[in-house]
C-alpha cells in the first residue's frame, strides 16, 4: 500500500517538479533564442498562413518547449486559432 502510494505520487514529488522545470528552462537557455527572434518567426508564420486562412492574430501563441515523448527534444510549438477558412 505504501509502495503504491509512492508510485502514484512519483510524478508530483518536488524533485520531479524541479527536474521538469529545469529541463524546460535549459531548453530556452541552450537554444539561446531571444524574444526578438521569436517575434520574427511569429511575424513570418502569420504572414504566410494568413494567405490561406483567416487567423486570430491576438490569440497566436508560439513558444519553444519540448517534445512530449521520452526524449524531450526542443520543439517549436505554435498554437494558431483559426477565424475562418478562406475560399479560393
Amino acid at each position: 500500500m505504501f509502495d503504491l502510494f509512492k508510485f502514484l505520487s512519483k510524478d508530483t514529488s518536488s524533485k520531479n517538479v524541479a527536474k521538469d522545470r529545469l529541463k524546460l528552462v535549459l531548453i530556452h537557455d541552450r537554444s539561446n533564442c531571444s524574444p526578438e527572434f521569436l517575434e520574427m518567426v511569429k511575424g513570418d508564420i502569420m504572414r504566410t498562413i494568413s494567405e490561406y486562412i483567416d487567423i486570430d492574430e491576438d490569440g497566436l501563441d508560439i513558444r519553444i518547449t519540448q517534445t512530449t515523448d521520452d526524449e524531450g527534444k526542443p520543439a517549436l510549438v505554435a498554437n494558431i486559432p483559426i477565424k475562418s477558412m478562406r475560399r479560393k
Binding site: S9, S13, K15, K19, L22, L26, D29
Partner: protein, 265 residues
C-alpha cells in the same frame, strides 16, 4: 609538467572555495606539490577557509604585475607538506589581472607544481574568463538546487566554448534523507540533465562549518563524511578508480544512523 585545474560553478555559495581548499589539501596529503590560486579578486576568501589569512604579504596582482617574484608571494601551508596558497588581492577589482597574465602565471607555476588549482569567482564575467584562461581541466561544483544546476549548465557551455572539454561535476551538499523521500534531485537526475561525468559527491555535513570556523580543511578529518568525500575526490582527480556514489551515500547515511544511536561521544 603539472596540470592546471579550475574549480568553477557560475552560481555563488555552492562551495567552490571549500572544494578548492579541500582538494588542494587532499592532493598535498597524497604527496603532490600543489598551489591553490584565489582568483576571486576583491572578494578574497580562500585564505580564511585555509586558515592562512594572517600570513599574507603579497598577492596575485603583485605577482602578475611583477612587483614581486611568484615564490615570494606563495604562502607555504605548514600543516600540509607541499601545499601553497597564492592569495587574491582584496582591494583591487577583477580587471587588475588579464587573461594573458593568468595564462603566463599558470604556465610558469605548472613547471614547478604537480597541480595548480584555480578558485574561480562566481559569475560569467571577466573574473571567470581570467580564472579559466590558463586551465587544462575544469571541475564544476553544483548543489542539488534548480538555480545551481541551471547555472552549472551555462558554465559547462561556456567552458566548452573556451575549449575546456569534458568538465567534471562535483555535487555538493546532498542530503540523502531528502533524496530518499523524493524532495531533492539525485545524482543521476543531475548527470542526465547536465550530460557530464561526475567526479564526486559531498554530503551536507556540519563538519564543514566547524572545519571552516577553525580554518582547517575537512579533508583531514578521518571521521567526517565530507572529509571522506573529499579524499575520494582527490584520488579520482589523480586518476584512481574509487567506487562511487551509491556506496558513498549509503555509507554517509549509515554514518548518520550510527551517530543518531550515539556511537559517537
Amino acid at each position: 609538467m603539472g596540470e592546471v585545474i579550475v574549480i568553477t560553478s557560475g552560481k555563488g555559495g555552492v562551495g567552490k572555495t571549500t572544494t578548492t581548499a579541500n582538494l588542494g589539501a587532499g592532493l598535498a596529503l597524497e604527496g603532490k606539490k600543489v598551489v591553490v590560486i584565489d582568483a576571486d579578486i576583491g572578494l578574497r576568501n580562500l585564505d580564511v577557509v585555509l586558515g592562512l589569512e594572517n600570513r599574507i604579504v603579497y598577492d596575485i596582482v603583485d605577482v602578475v604585475s611583477k612587483t614581486c617574484e611568484p615564490k615570494k608571494a606563495l604562502i607555504k601551508d605548514r600543516r600540509f607538506d607541499g601545499l601553497f596558497l597564492l592569495p587574491a588581492a582584496q582591494t583591487r577589482d577583477k580587471d587588475a589581472v588579464t587573461e594573458a597574465q593568468m595564462v603566463e602565471l599558470c604556465n610558469s607555476l605548472k613547471e614547478e607544481f604537480d597541480f595548480v588549482l584555480v578558485d574561480c569567482p562566481a559569475g560569467i564575467e571577466q573574473g571567470f574568463k581570467n580564472a579559466i584562461a590558463g586551465a587544462d581541466r575544469a571541475i564544476v561544483v553544483t548543489t542539488p538546487e534548480i538555480s545551481a544546476v541551471r547555472d552549472a549548465d551555462r558554465i559547462i557551455g561556456l567552458l566548452e566554448a573556451h575549449d575546456l572539454r569534458d568538465p567534471e561535476l562535483i555535487v555538493n551538499r546532498i542530503r540523502i534523507d531528502m533524496v530518499k523521500r523524493g524532495d531533492m534531485m539525485n545524482i543521476s537526475d543531475m548527470t542526465d540533465i547536465l550530460n557530464i561525468d561526475i567526479i564526486g559527491i559531498v554530503p551536507d555535513d556540519e563538519q564543514i562549518v566547524i572545519s571552516t570556523n577553525r580554518g582547517e580543511p575537512a579533508v583531514k578529518e578521518m571521521e567526517s563524511m565530507s572529509g571522506k568525500a573529499y579524499r575520494n575526490i582527490t584520488k579520482r582527480v589523480i586518476g584512481e578508480e574509487i567506487p562511487f556514489l551509491e556506496l558513498e551515500i549509503q555509507e554517509g547515511f549509515m554514518d548518520k544512523v550510527m551517530k543518531i544511536f550515539s556511537f559517537r561521544r
